[in-house]
Amino acid sequence: MIYREAGDFKTNYVSDGQTFPLRFDRWAYGLLLAVAFLVIPFVIDDYWANAVFVPFLIYAIAAIGLNILTGYCGQVSLGTGGFMAVGAYAAYKLMTAFPDVPFPVHVVLAGGITAAVGVLFGLPSLRIKGFYLAVATLAAQFFLVWLFNKVPWFYNYSASGQISAPTREVFGWAVTGPSATPAASYLICLIFLTVLALIARNLTRGTTGRTWMAIRDMDIAAEIIGVNPLTAKLSAFAVSSFFIGVAGALFFAVYLGAVEVGSAFGIQKSFLVLFMIIIGGLGSIFGSFAGAAFLVLLPVLLKAIGVDMLGWPTDIVAHIQLVIVGALIILFLVLEPHGLAQLWRVTKEKLRLWPFPY
């Protein structure tokens, strides 16, 4: 009975509505944040930053973004890769056009531009639903990637057609470019993720989140009680695209450094983020974290076991990874549609009673 809620009473509505209602949770997450901010930056090395932490943090932002749209508002999107590309190219154009403006401002602006593009491609959602909307967002994915390939203005007429991030500093620390330290890359992503996750949580527990979920669960009833479907759906597209745009900008500038749009932001990226929220749990912020962690760690783990310990060839391990991810998607869809987040919820409920069965 380590994990308990007995005796944890609420005496006002503010404390009843807080993010972590249980005292134990508040301590645990506080400790986690303290370790993430105060310990990891001092011990992180290149391998851990590039293989695990930085991609996890960036994918978590993208997964929260897609979860807002698909998990909370019920609008299926296959355009995540395309929207990440918008964020990346917006950040690139801004960074090269205004070198004196601080990098975080560029990232936020890139998110804003992506939000505008997202609203534009979200307009069909007012007319079409489900499967057909997914196909419409698929069109956005292919159109955007094609656009960034075809129009040289977007990659500043560089000969290779790639974009590469110039070095930018925050408080004297290089966060982009070749001289960025692992700790700096890690910290800037961590700060963005923490702030954005808080915003996502605030939006989803309040009126905005309820209108999104109302549209998801029963759009006719939502409209009859006063939800304007236009603003509800488009605000979901805007917020979601903002998150995904920020993730795209960080993915390009902080993580990869140089990007070729087709390989970095192709349809595989859309599916990867979609798999993250399916495995993690639709309609759950925690699930976005869990899904991102799972799909970032899985290849690392498989490589550690398959290649390093058992000595299998790399391509075989890569194929095994595809098989495992595919099987997991099917398993989750059949057995636990609410994903890892639901498993975690069930575990917590069991823990509350442990070691007694009832």
Partner: protein
């Protein structure tokens, strides 16, 4: 079940008119669902709409709540002609409704469902909500207090945090009523609030409807098939058959109307 002494039917005609429907005709292609119907709903009364299946009762409710736009006729609300509006705009005027087949948000808790009902009272923008602390939190708490009063009123405190999808039918109906009430509507439309309920549940629901009418002074228009309930609850009754209005008046008057008896009540007359 015995009639509780609500506002007596004799008081109704003297009250001001809240909503007036003038010569409404609604067609679906060649089918006339509603043919030239006029009636009014007065402030504070319980107005029942009855009629056999397919008489156009639900269509009438859908006209009032803005789902259907009649080809002919006018809807007047609070002394003003209402232009053709989308349902969410109608909701902002202060008209709330429940559905014949429950239309709750299954993935959300009872509390969230009822809180969603207060959407027309929530004014804070998306940026204030992203920050949460400050205006958005104050608004949330103020509305939570209003919602808790309704939860108390309808006696659903126990299931506050339960996901709606797990509730039994009778409770879902009650939660749907709570969600409609949360909007503090001027006019409440109930589409068969007692369909599929047993006698006890019907008695509970009747009590809630009368209490709502009594305590909040909410005007109620309801569709119901159980004649006993209708006659006991309502101040005035509109009777429809094949899209036409065939009777209008107090329950006693309607019960005595031979055309109504013929079409609906099914009592043999000699």
């Amino acid at each position: 079940m015995s009639a509780l002494p609500a506002a007596g039917p004799e008081a109704a005609p003297s009250r001001p008119v809240l909503m007036e429907l003038k010569n409404i005709t609604l067609r679906f292609g060649g089918v006339e669902a509603i043919k030239d119907i006029s009636f009014d709903i007065r402030e504070g009364e319980i107005r029942a709409i009855i009629g056999p299946n397919g008489a156009g009762k639900s269509s009438m409710l859908n006209v009032i709540s803005g789902f259907y736009h009649p080809q002919e006729g006018e809807v007047w609300f609070r002394g003003r002609r209402r232009p053709a509006m989308k349902p969410y705009q109608v909701a902002r005027l202060g008209i709330a409704r429940t559905f014949q087949n429950i239309a709750l948000f299954d993935g959300m808790s009872v509390l969230d469902n009822v809180m969603t009902g207060r959407i027309t009272h929530m004014k804070r923008g998306i940026f204030a909500q992203g920050v949460w602390k400050g205006p958005a939190e104050r608004e949330e708490v103020a509305n939570r207090e209003a919602v808790e009063r309704i939860i108390d009123f309808l006696e659903i405190q126990r299931i506050r945090k339960t996901p709606v999808g797990r509730l039994p039918y009778g409770l879902k109906k009650r939660v749907e009523l709570a969600r409609a009430l949360a909007a503090e509507p001027k006019l409440l439309l109930l589409d068969e609030p007692m369909a599929g309920m047993n006698v006890e549940e019907k008695e509970d629901m009747s009590r809630f409807i009368l209490d709502v009418n009594d305590e909040f002074g909410t005007t109620i228009a309801l569709i119901e098939h159980d004649m006993g309930v209708v006659m006991d609850l309502s101040d005035r009754v509109v009777v429809m058959d094949y899209g036409r209005k065939i009777g209008d008046g107090t329950p006693a008057e309607v019960r005595a109307n031979p055309e109504v008896i013929d079409a609906y009540l099914g009592v043999a007359h000699d």
